[in-house]
Amino acid sequence: MKNYDVIVIGGGPAGLAAAVKAYDYGAEVLIIEREDILGGILNQCIHNGFGLTRFKESLSGPEYAARFVDEVKKRNIDVFIKTTVLSVGNDKSVTAINETDGVFTLKAKAIILAMGCRERSKGALNVAGTRPAGLYSAGTAQKYVNVKGYLPGKNVVILGSGDIGLIMARRMTLEGAKVHAVCEIMPYSSGLKRNIVQCLNDFDIPLYLSHTITKIEGDGRVTGVVISQVDENKRPIKGTEKHFDCDTVLFSVGLIPENELTKTAGVEIYPNTKGAYVYQNRETSVEGIFSCGNVLHVHDLVDFVSEEAEIAGVAAAEYALSGGKAHDAVSCVCGDNVSYVLPQKIDKNIDGNVKIFFRVKNVFKNCAVKVQSGDEILVYKKKRIALPGEMETVTLPADKIKTLNGGVTVSLEV
């Protein structure tokens, strides 16, 4: 076994795109993937809608992944499948385990963290009641249906109107289940508008906004749930209870970047995203360790995952082959109505525009994105509508970056 210029942890869309770009830059690249095949979570997303921006086509998840897997296969990129990384060192060592090599440690000049995210579990919500079979996170149900070929249940209630919940509402219906309700604790859905239409409206599945599940019933298997309306503090309102008989409950209650390995490497985590703090080239607080994709911040569109991963791939290869350059960075922080910004550090020593990604805290109409440094407004962009469920971008031009002498704030003026 050899050491590599760049080791990519995760063979999903982020890892694949990053590996290809790192290789094309000239680096020796290894992808480490824990599943049996490359492709990541896209392998179970058999619905289409992927690639509209990047390829101007509407692809299914596996098709989008295949585009990148093909590119990897055309190149001399090493791939370890069925291999799980156990820890990443501050010194860019990677310890992993698989059936043929056992536990082993490799060293790299640069590492790209592309581990993706996991679903928040029902356990984190403190839902009262019993703990029967038939409760699944939406992604687990999706795995059973789309990959294993099994139906979890026939009478479904879904908590969470994020994209995964919406997609599974349609998927279960298409497999012959009855989806009785989709509940959403917020007064708005965080899913893509097109999913509300194509997954709920088209199938007459009722959406209960400002509602949550307050009780689960059933001993061996779930038999029913109670839902309640909630107030502005997300507390259930007495008297608004509704009961549904069901044998399955799907929870689509949030995605959490899977940064356990990131922490073993001593990389600093930005609490607003639960992903790493990064510069615009996606380098983290540890020199030579880069991060991209859902492990950095949860994306809505895989097209942007690929774009971001390509930035990280090039930067990691450049670091591996030419060494790091000194940073001259200013901070980029959240202003009014913005819940997170990325990158959080803008390095003046890196040429080029910086596309800043951010999310807003609420639904805002007729607003404007404002990027300012001190009193100077650098960018001002009017927007008809901004939603928490749709990641926004604003570009800071290169010439404005060069002349920065203080931090930058991104806010939404309403």
Partner: protein, 480 residues
């Protein structure tokens, strides 16, 4: 068909029944355990605080006090032999008023009478040094260095597994519903019509001990349920507290505790609520109560790291003490009832007394020559060095395949759980033995794979795999 008459039948697969079974297995006896659920450790032994109490809490002269202090001393040795983690992390009973500080002095005195060693009253400063996250309102505490923590279900599973390795038999999904006195002993019949015969019967059925005793015509005690709800925090919060923190007890009871677990989670709870039917539902009020009380004990409780909540039901007797005695009504029946807190702590001592004293009066006990008190820990792999792990993987490549990412559990360990005594046959049984599914994603990633492994090893279709036994199938069938 000739039915075999076991020398001893133990009804109830909890920690008390389990340690009794193991003690019985030391002797030349045929023994069988009957458990009504699909796995052992599914009653109180599954959902409790896992505390090895120092022994200052129980009333002087009570059986609780006697067996608590004895059991506390035995626990380390028993846990070691069975390959189960035991941590002597120490307990702190925290006082929030001068009146409570006075109560601590009484507790200390009581503890000393009960035979507890090392009890000290510490002041606010020392308390804050021991526990930096303690509430600013805490004035001081009673420090009990002999307090510890253990995993109650792992102890139960390991004890029963060890007993079975030494010849004991286990029948699960056997709910005793009828008892008939026959020549030489009793015939015990299950709900679904199976029969097991035994000369001596030990009733260690937890919340069901009253019903079982009644079947023998023994109406000498009543058992009621008191439910406790818990919240569990992710391992990321490890170190938030190091000792087990108790509120100063009032007439209402011990209150909740804030404690690390042996697996490095943080456990908050339990509440106390009378229940009639041993139900283990959590409630919005109960979980809120746990949170409020935890906030009273500590500052900055990391609730955002909640990974699950659950409830257990304590079985308490109308004698307000353990009932560990031969039945006055039914020959050769030994009742172990009302074993609520400090039951877990007391269990090794109870087992020793039940077998070496009570069973001894009924059957001649001859020690086995080849009794092996040791069991390989279910988590042996994680304790190994890299070189040792690689040797195992070379022999059996399934140990090189991680199935549960959150807890880093391999396929080899999951297959082993379905193979060694007491065999796991459900998702929850695998979870209790291996921790697969107990991490932060709570089985979101690994459950389908664990299910596939169970199906493969038991040679059953995937749709027959259950979470915890009958009527808890995961799937209803294939997709179109």
């Amino acid at each position: 068909m000739i039915k075999i008459m076991f020398d001893v039948v133990v009804i109830g697969g909890g920690v008390v029944g389990g340690l009794i079974l193991r003690k019985l297995a030391e002797y030349d006896l045929s023994v069988c355990m009957l458990e009504r659920a699909s796995d052992v450790a599914m009653g109180q032994s599954r959902a409790n605080s896992g505390i090895v109490h120092a022994g200052f809490d129980a009333a002087e002269g009570s059986l609780k006090a006697k067996f608590n202090v004895l059991g506390n001393k035995m626990m380390k040795g028993v846990a070691n032999a069975l390959g189960v983690e035991y941590k002597n992390n120490g307990s702190l009973v925290v006082a929030f008023s001068e009146k409570e500080m006075e109560t601590l002095k009484e507790l200390k005195k009581r503890g000393e009478i009960n035979g507890v060693e090392g009890l000290t009253i510490i002041d606010k400063k020392e308390l804050q040094e021991k526990e930096p996250n303690i509430s600013d309102d805490a004035l001081g505490a009673l420090y009990a260095p002999t307090g510890g923590i253990v995993c109650p279900y792992k102890l139960t599973i390991s004890a029963i597994g060890n007993a079975m390795d030494n010849g004991a038999k286990l029948k699960t999904e056997f709910e005793v519903s009828a008892v008939e006195k026959i020549e030489g002993g009793y015939a015990l019949t299950s709900l679904d019509g199976q029969t097991v015969q035994g000369k001596v019967v030990i009733n260690a059925a937890g919340i069901g001990t009253e019903k079982i005793a009644n079947l023998f015509g023994d109406y000498s005690f009543k058992v009621s349920g008191r439910k406790g709800e818990y919240i569990l925090l992710d391992k990321e919060s490890r170190g938030f507290v190091k000792h087990t923190l108790f509120f100063t007890p009032t007439e209402k009871g011990k209150g909740i505790l804030v404690s690390p677990t042996v697996d490095e989670n943080i456990l908050l709870g339990p509440t106390a609520q009378l229940v009639t039917d041993g139900n283990v539902e959590t409630s919005a009020e109960g979980l809120l109560d746990v949170q409020e009380k935890a906030k009273k004990m500590c500052k900055g409780v990391p609730f955002y790291n909640t990974i699950t909540s659950f409830a257990g039901t304590r079985a308490y007797s109308d004698r307000h003490d353990f009932i560990i005695e031969k039945s006055a009504v039914a020959d050769n029946l030994i009742n172990c009832a009302g074993i609520e807190s400090p039951g877990l702590t007391a269990s090794p001592a109870i087992a020793e007394y039940v077998v070496d004293v009570l069973v001894n009066e009924l059957i001649t006990l001859r020690k086995k020559e080849n009794f092996n008190p040791n069991r390989i820990p279910d988590n042996f792999f994680e304790k190994m060095s890299v070189a040792e792990k690689n040797a195992v993987i070379k022999e059996n490549k399934a140990y090189g395949r991680i199935i549960c990412r959150c807890e880093q559990i391999t396929e080899g360990e999951i297959v082993r759980a379905v193979t060694v005594n007491p065999r796991a046959t459900t998702i929850d049984a695998v979870k209790r033995r291996t921790r697969a599914g107990m991490g932060r994603c709570q089985g979101g990633f690994c459950q389908p794979q664990v299910a596939e492994i169970i199906a493969r090893e038991l040679n059953i279709p995937l749709e027959k795999v259950t979470k915890s036994g009958k009527n808890s199938e995961l799937l209803i069938g294939r997709t179109k």
